[in-house]
Symmetry: C2
Subunit: 153 residues, 2 copies
Amino acid sequence: MENIDDKDLKLLKLLQNNAKLTVKELAREISLSLSPAFERVKRLENEGYIKKYAAILNAEKLNRGFTVLCQIKLKIHDKSVGNDFVKQILKIDEIVECYNISGDYDFFLKVQAKDMKHYQDFVFNTLGCVDAIGSTHSTFVMAEVKNSHGLNM
Amino acid sequence: MENIDDKDLKLLKLLQNNAKLTVKELAREISLSLSPAFERVKRLENEGYIKKYAAILNAEKLNRGFTVLCQIKLKIHDKSVGNDFVKQILKIDEIVECYNISGDYDFFLKVQAKDMKHYQDFVFNTLGCVDAIGSTHSTFVMAEVKNSHGLNM
DNA sequence: CCTGAAAAAACCTTAGG
DNA sequence: CCTAAGGTTTTTTCAGG
């Protein structure tokens, strides 16, 4: 893994916050001229520091403003059941994140639904069809206090 | 709130996945010519469907690949303590997300640290200095199974 | 690492259908 | 909604220090 300096880090911060900044603007921010700034951005992209550029969408306006944190226990802890579970999780749109976790539960899901009614339907009719699931525990998000959409550096 | 059609939805999906697509490419994908495609994107931006454009960074390469889900109970449940807590949370870099939640705990944090050692230091020296906190419970992420970095539509 | 120039591409607007 | 044109800006490359 290669090294990055303060200017690279600043570029990453700036682009994380606003991917539409032009090379000219970035160059000014890091006190370099256009060419080296451009080269740095390309290097950060090529070396994988920047995974991709994405539009951050408004979940509320797209009927996905109801966030639930859902913990899951598998019925049986073997490889094939786990693989089966993962395969199904990947196909479910409401699940935006899934982590294999330590503790009493096996998986942690972040679910984005329209509202409580939608979530109930999701639990019964979507999760309910995932055979590997033993039990679930839902925690409801009442308010989003902080969401950096990335790293704070 | 205005309505969006299938083409708008497709634009949002495409841009969520890759914000660097040109208007020409987007136009081709939704089978429209350049001008209306351009107008649609601007409309989606202006009406707030697109909150911003961001570079998605590689947490691993930036020494933030160790993810912990941390639940927090406040000492006292009054407005000033809550506000105080929130104000401090916003300033802590390792905390990338924070939600006010239902259930036994009051807040849910997603923490990105370098490694366990860094996390331990974070719990003792950073969270340890947040006066409002009554108790914490850490759940460690062993593997990221799914992360859409947005909505699945 | 830098400056500066310049080609190529994309953006954005406007006019007309 | 479309095409087409044209100015502006940005991207990208390249020569030379």
